[in-house]
């Protein structure tokens, strides 16, 4: 039997990690993702005790989180469960809903600032057309980043996550790295 070894979205054995000044960008290889959509006439569930957020919002629970992705649709995240069948687990907790496994369709980058909100805001200003006055902790949106469609999540003042298509993980890393480097050089 072949010796199969899993690789990350960026093609390495271990997730990539790099620092640029106060910013740290980390490939989050362990994040499990599943999308969930209400069907007509179903009751809105509360999977893992999550009160599903409204438009433009993200909410975190114990090791799981949910972000609104469209009318009656959410993406559910679970830390460290990428190797498990998270979608099946979610399906049990969301009766009548359409649940789809998403983990391997995406790459997730966690970006943390060691100097407060300033560097995060500067990075976002460079990369996305999002009104930062209205993008505090608990906000999440899909938008274009260098022509790539991405989810941007504000996990806290100094911590954002960018979820992009796994097939363009390298280009997304390049965009984030370039912007972060330029901020560092400034």
């Amino acid at each position: 039997m072949s010796d199969l070894r899993p690789i990350t979205a960026l093609g390495a054995a271990l997730p990539r990690l790099a620092s640029f000044g106060a910013l740290e960008i980390r490939e989050n290889g362990g994040l499990a993702l599943a999308s969930m959509a209400l069907r007509r006439g179903t009751v809105e569930p509360t999977p893992f005790g999550l009160a599903l957020p409204g438009p433009g919002r993200w909410i975190a629970g114990q090791g799981v989180a949910a972000l609104w992705t469209g009318l009656d649709q959410w993406m559910i995240e679970a830390e460290g469960r990428a190797e498990l069948d998270f979608a099946a687990e979610l399906k049990q907790l969301a009766p009548g809903c359409s649940v789809t496994e998403q983990t391997d369709g995406w790459v997730a980058f966690e970006i943390v600032s060691r100097a407060g909100t300033g560097p995060i805001d500067a990075l976002l200003s460079k990369l996305v057309n999002v009104d930062l006055a209205d993008f505090g902790p608990g906000c999440a949106t899909r938008t274009g980043l260098e022509h790539m469609s991405c989810f941007v999540i504000r996990r806290s003042e100094a911590h954002i996550a960018v979820l992009g298509a796994r097939s363009s993980a390298g280009s997304l890393w390049h965009a984030l790295e370039t912007a972060a480097k330029r901020l560092e050089e400034r």
């Binding site: 438009p55 469209g70 009318l71 057309n129």
Partner: protein
Amino acid sequence: MLITHPLLGLRDAQEFTYLGDARLIDRPAPSAPDAEAAFCDYVFLRDNPAGVHRELWYHEHGDRSWLVVTRDTVTHEVLGAELARNVALARTRCSK
């Protein structure tokens, strides 16, 4: 241009793709006796006014919703936007 998304507030028009005249919602009945001519008009003809225009925009880099945007084609001013699904559902109810 900034489009006033009914759920997400002001969003850059770059996040959207454009389909055209909102009358494309009104698909002709395929079983009507004049269906062939009606479909020809539906597919090919447009009002194309200079001024206020109701048109379909798709929030591709966003929540993937279809919007009916009311916009002035002379000034590019966006005058309003609503979810196309609400527009379509309201019409279905009217016709019943």
